[in-house]
């Protein structure tokens, strides 16, 4: 199975939300990283056939998805970012309804619904109306509906939003289990969501695909560009505004800074093994700089 995106563009007026993205996706888990507004959601909506590209093609095994129609959608599972529910439906009714939309027969729908509600830990509240659910519960229900049809292409847009740390770990494991022999694209701006489970990292910035690299080698490009240095608190304030500081940690009266920079930022800094977060900061540092302007805040 191969999902091909060929010269995919989406333009709103003069602004490109997705700009000439070409990529061939084979089974595996793809972590789609990008800052907010980078074009992740637009790209995913186009893959799901609910947003028409301005130009370019999306093909499954060489056939355009518009031609495949139901055949394509039957293989698709999609969990959109910030999507809604029918508040007057119970979780079970919602799942059975989505199962019908996905073309599952009654028996299959019932079995899959029970299994998935159990898997996302919602069995006990399956007959309660969704309007009584917390954000995290709704998010888990969203994940469950996405995999109802056991899709071979699974698109998850910011699926961990609203989940607490424990739920995020649970969710990561869940996705990892579900991803076998599937094309899974998981978009996030939280690096740790994908750093443990992704096979391949895709980075998107201002609509353009910056990087497509296997998880094993993705950080190679910034090898020798990640530095650590121990400085005073006064110096730390100065360096935070001058460099891409990935992390800071207080040690007695000093501060240990982790900096991503092409060259040695400060005399005495030494290179360390780069992580995915370092890579993210390397590409998107400018875009997310304002979020870590407080020098006393540990951004890890």
């Amino acid at each position: 199975m191969e999902l091909q995106l060929q010269n995919l563009c989406k333009r709103y007026g003069t602004k490109y939300a997705v700009d000439n993205v070409s990529i061939n996706l084979v089974p595996g888990l793809y972590g789609l990283l990008g800052a907010n507004g980078a074009g992740k959601t637009t790209l995913m909506r186009m893959i799901c056939g609910i947003l028409k590209p301005t130009s370019g093609d999306i093909k499954l095994n060489g056939k355009p998805i518009e031609e495949l129609g139901e055949q394509y959608y039957s293989q698709l599972g999609y969990m959109p970012q910030d999507f809604g529910f029918y508040p007057d439906f119970t979780a079970r009714e919602f799942m059975l309804y989505i199962a019908a939309v996905k073309g599952l027969n009654k028996k299959e729908a019932k079995t899959r619904t029970e299994n998935l509600l159990h898997m996302v830990n919602l069995s006990d509240v399956a007959d309660k109306k969704i309007k009584s659910y917390s954000g995290g519960m709704k998010q888990r229900l969203g994940i469950a509906q996405a995999v109802l049809n056991n899709p071979s292409i699974l698109i998850l847009d910011e699926p961990t939003a609203g989940l607490d740390p424990k739920e995020r770990v649970r969710f990561r494991n869940l996705i990892s289990d579900l991803a076998k022999e599937k094309i899974v694209i998981l978009s996030t701006h939280i690096v740790s969501d994908v750093s443990y489970i992704a096979d391949t990292i895709l980075m998107i910035k201002q609509g353009r695909l910056l990087l497509q690299e296997s998880m094993d080698t993705v950080t190679n490009s910034i090898k020798g560009k990640v530095w650590e240095v121990l400085v005073s608190e006064q110096e730390a304030n100065k360096y935070i505004s001058s460099f891409s500081v990935v992390n800071l940690r207080h040690e007695d009266n000093m501060v240990r800074l982790r900096i991503v920079n092409e060259t040695e930022p400060i005399i005495g800094a030494h290179t360390v093994e780069p992580s995915l977060e370092d890579l993210f900061l390397y590409y998107f540092g400018e875009e997310i700089q304002p979020e870590r302007s407080n020098p006393n805040e540990d951004i890890n």
Partner: protein
């Protein structure tokens, strides 16, 4: 498909707003159609008899009026009326006209006032109103049905109607199917229904309000992304949404119809269902009984309802919120209420009589017809065809609207 329809139906029914709107609409319909029962007043020498007692009194009065309106019967009735005027004690005068008073009025006119009016009106020229006094002018030969035919002929040739030869021919042929002599009797319940059809517009509006979120609600609730990316999201689901909307609309409207027709018929009885509608107005050209007229017009209103549901679905698929849907729909349904006709020809009038609100009014006595080349159709047929065609045209666009919907921020 059945499961999809079931859940789409549930989506409509589960909303609190649907239940509230439908309950209010049913109450309004019950009130509007129940009002003629509550407010009914019959009169006799002793005063006013109100409500159900009045209805019962009036029905007893009519028991002796279930007759065939033969020339002889009409002649006898007119003669009897004229004879009462020979006794000066029976006659009053208000400066303008003479009228019967005292026992002559209460014993002869009051029990058959409607019948006397319909006979008198038959002898009026088109557009003339002279009350019962017209009966005093008939001195030689009654010729009730001949007069009716001549009156229709005058109407068809009047400069006011401006009918073409083809249209006149059409109305002659329709009118010739009316059976004479007319059977007369009690028909109060049916008359109330025939004159109150337009009140069903509130039910149509209520149904459209409930249907308005069928597509737009998915956009507003942000559930569009999930369902449109499902296998049947752009195919069977749309069919299910349309089917459930129609099913809901038909069921809800039928409930309103039961209430709207049931209340007056329960109070006034089914009497009159088989009587010709000409006993309201002798120049009505349609050869219908009261029951047939009610069934035909109700059928047309159902077709209007289906077209309005289709229009609502189209707007719902195209617009981002159900409020916007209603902002377009309410004027379409209710602006024609404030427009009046100035004839039955000309583009303005011909269009006006086809607008949703006007379509609920049967306009049985107006000779409204539409000519397409040599083909002439009456307003009832055109309404039925138009709204069937509109439904067939609008629905594919509604379907396409949702199918092509772009999920964007």
């Amino acid at each position: 498909m059945k499961t999809l329809i079931k859940y789409e139906f549930l989506k409509i029914l589960r909303k609190k707003s649907s239940i509230i709107i439908m309950s209010v609409s049913l109450l309004v319909t019950a009130f509007l159609f129940g009002l003629p029962v509550i407010q009914y007043q019959a009169y006799n020498k002793d005063g006013v008899i109100k409500g159900l007692d009045g209805i019962s009194y009036e029905k007893r009065q009519y028991a002796q009026l279930s007759v065939v309106l033969t020339e002889e019967y009409i002649a006898d009735t007119i003669r009897e009326y004229q004879k009462l005027f020979e006794n000066p004690e029976n006659v009053g005068y208000d400066g303008n006209e003479r009228f019967l008073i005292g026992d002559a009025y209460w014993n002869f006119v009051a029990p058959r006032e409607k019948l006397l009016k319909v006979i008198a009106t038959n002898y009026n020229k088109p557009g003339e109103y002279s009350g019962l006094n017209k009966l005093l002018e008939i001195t030689t030969g009654v010729n009730f049905y001949k007069t009716r035919n001549e009156k229709i002929e005058t109407l068809l040739n009047s400069s006011f109607l401006k009918l073409s030869e083809k249209q006149k021919e059409y109305w002659h042929s329709i009118s010739s199917q009316v059976k004479t002599p007319f059977k007369y009797g009690y028909y109060e319940g049916w008359e109330i229904i025939i004159t109150s059809f337009e009140l069903l517009m509130f039910a149509i509006l209520a149904i459209c309000i409930v249907i308005a979120p069928v597509f737009a609600g998915e956009y507003q609730a942000r559930t569009d992304a999930v369902i449109l990316s499902g296998k049947y999201g752009k195919t069977k689901l749309i069919t299910a949404k349309i089917a459930s909307s129609f099913a809901f609309g038909i069921l809800a409207f039928t409930l309103h119809i039961f209430l709207a027709f049931g209340l007056p018929l329960a109070a006034f009885g089914l009497d009159g269902w088989n009587l010709p509608i000409q006993i309201i107005n002798t120049t009505i050209p349609y050869p219908f009984t009261f029951l047939q007229a009610v069934i035909i017009n109700t059928g047309i209103i159902y077709l209007v309802l289906l077209a309005m549901i289709s229009l609502t679905l189209l707007l719902s698929a195209k617009l981002k919120s159900s409020h916007l849907v209603l902002a377009v729909l309410v004027p379409v349904l209710f602006v024609p209420m404030f427009l009046s006709s100035n004839g039955i020809t000309g583009a303005y009038n011909l269009i006006l009589f086809l607008l949703p609100y006007r379509c609920t009014i049967p306009e049985l006595n107006k000779y409204i017809s539409y000519q397409f080349g040599s083909l002439v159709l009456d307003v009832l047929s055109v309404r039925a065809i138009l709204y069937t065609v509109l439904t067939a045209i609008i629905l594919p666009f509604a379907r396409l609207g949702f199918k092509k919907h772009q999920v964007s921020a």
